[in-house]
Symmetry: C2
Subunit: 382 residues, 2 copies
């Protein structure tokens, strides 16, 4: 066979890799194999630690709001290499519990010791759902955000930590999160469309070859092959760091979350209607989704300095999250003042609760009142 | 976080993807998530069905040895899209059981029907270990070979099928398999060495940056980071289709398997000594591993026409398996007549029984009797 692990087709991830996984009843072993293993490598930790937008936001959030940490107990959910725990301790925390599901915990422990913080920080290897702490905490800090905020479903673990271990007066870091969407133009639309057409052309040569050389008619598989390729090229959202100029309409908030009160139900299914006003005559090639989070403390105990971490399209401040791009096919010509109304639904994939499915059901109203061809499309955030 | 599924670092597979998995006691859910999912895509089936060397070998093996199939019962282990089952039926089999663990079975069933063979071929979805057949079979056919023959450990399932379902007079397709190794020269040695050095240079800038900008000394992680990068760049075997000119010494058989008698013990651990005579003055950059299989029938019931499928370096007949390259670091200058003696050991990875670890323990004797610096190196076939 040759399953392409390190082979010629090994560069195809997404739907072609790690597709399995637990559904509603999550198998922990499968989840670990599919998800946590990624974070067990220093290479990936370094990628995240080199994301200056991410680093600056958390660093400033902590050190410009030391009153939340001084003499306090802190829980870091998914500490990775331990950076947020270390900063919390450096900002004066009395005790920091740093929970990490992977073997990265051993590196975190070494790093804590090398920075002389082993009296303050206790690194605990285990999944947040299983861990028991000796006390409730004043602060829960976590960098839990996945692509388009909710991919990875790691916020579930933060909610679990909050409900079990945060004092009634406790503070969440970050305290708020928002999902955004905006219409965009992008060369990716034509590129992916061409890729798809090329794959199908190639398929037809393959069919002919298999029939003539090997006496088997495979044309019955054309429809499922086309569906598979369409999913891969046209229905799977893409990672991209867009230029702000590519955003062609007003950006809309799809969902706001208060990290102190949000429930798993609030995020397992996100439904929202948004509308965007087109800014210029151009092609609507699809939509971009991103997020921001804020560090505001809580109403009775606010931040002294409110910090924002945004992953919006930016010339100088791109992040490793980038934006997720959802392509329309074909693109639609739009004009200044057109109103794009979209009904948005994001649900978790039945096959893997850490992946998402997004449905966009939209229509474009021209200022004249004329309504352009509506669109309805399903996407996979993989 | 942003676990790089479809992101900027998403192209890094191998040790950075799907690393988990069952060890000795295999968790079926994990194994399915890590392994079988790959074969559930028509794109990958098409890649294999487009490998002419592979296709021609099986096609010729069947149709030039119709006496093994005419009026016989056949079991196809891991039928995928069903091609071997279909050919077996077209060659005159009375009944073909086509077993497939993934949902690809549904496509196989459609293909069988479209080719009017549903009266002969019964597609069974399930893992070979769990499937029950109504009768014993005359032939077991399977395309079970992974990179360097044994990666994927799929031959285990063929052995299981043989021991349970093959008649005492039955025939295995293929009937024999061999693992080969040969010394090679390759620009990959310098390239990967440079990549490693570059990654470590970058790490040192990262350390300085993290210390100055964020007040954390991460130098304690230098050693584990270097080990991780070394494993990635220098100790993970590479897929390559080598030019025969790159083979610089005699090729040696590392292991021969008779598919009729081999046991799981024979393949779970492969130990062998081989030696190779260098053909010219050049640089020994490492070793290449490949395999061939033969279709010979069985001694009492031999093939009329013996067919070979080889994945050896070739100008015109490369396969999707390519060869696995094991790099030496640094390369060693060798001369015509030098004798490379290698003690070879291949074991299954403790973390994932479908992946392999290879140890090469070697020395180079010059014709003068002088012995060059010995080498001992561990590799991961991932």
């Amino acid at each position: 066979m040759g399953s392409f692990g390190n082979g010629p087709a090994g560069d195809r991830t997404g739907p072609y890799g790690g597709g399995g996984g637990g559904g509603a009843g999550v198998d922990k072993g499968v989840d670990f194999a599919n998800y946590f293993c990624t974070y067990a490598f220093l290479y990936h930790q370094k990628e995240m630690l080199s994301d200056r937008v991410r680093m600056d936001a958390y660093y400033n959030a902590i050190f410009q709001n030391k009153h939340h940490f001084l003499g306090k107990t802190v829980l870091d959910v998914g500490t990775g290499s331990g950076i947020l725990a270390i900063w919390s301790a450096q900002a004066g925390a009395r005790k920091v519990y740093a929970v990490e599901a992977t073997k990265m915990s051993e590196h975190a422990r070494a790093l804590v010791k090398a920075n002389n913080l082993e009296d303050v920080i206790e690194v605990i290897e285990g999944s947040m759902e299983d861990v028991s702490l000796p006390e409730k905490v004043d602060v829960i800090i976590s960098e839990w955000m996945g692509y388009f905020l909710l991919r990875e479903s790691m916020f579930d673990s933060v909610i679990c930590a909050r409900d079990r271990w945060l004092k009634p007066t406790g503070v969440m870091y970050p305290s708020h999160a928002r999902m955004w969407m905006a219409p965009i133009r992008s060369g990716l639309a034509d590129q992916k469309s061409n890729d798809y057409e090329g794959a199908m052309d190639d398929w037809h040569f393959f069919l002919e070859d298999t029939r003539i050389s090997y006496g088997v008619d495979m044309s019955i598989l054309t429809k499922p092959f086309a569906e598979e390729q369409k999913k891969w090229y046209l229905q799977t959202s893409l990672w991209n760091n867009l230029h702000p100029n590519q955003v062609i309409g007003t950006a809309a908030t799809v969902r706001e979350l208060d990290c102190l009160t949000a429930t798993v139900n609030d995020i397992a299914e996100v439904r929202s209607n948004f509308s965007s006003i087109i800014k210029c005559h151009t092609r609507l090639c699809g939509f971009s989704g991103w997020f921001d989070v804020h560090f505001r403390g809580r109403m009775e105990d606010p931040a002294q300095k409110e910090i924002e971490l945004t992953t919006a399209p930016s010339v100088d401040n791109g992040t490793h999250w980038g934006q997720q791009v959802f392509l329309l096919n074909p693109a639609v010509t739009v004009s200044e003042g057109d109103d794009v109304d979209v009904s948005f639904a994001m649900t978790r994939s039945k096959d893997n609760h850490r992946l998402m499915e997004v449905e966009l059901d939209g229509r474009i109203k021209q200022p004249s009142g004329n309504v352009l061809q509506p669109f309805r499309k399903m996407f996979y955030v993989e």
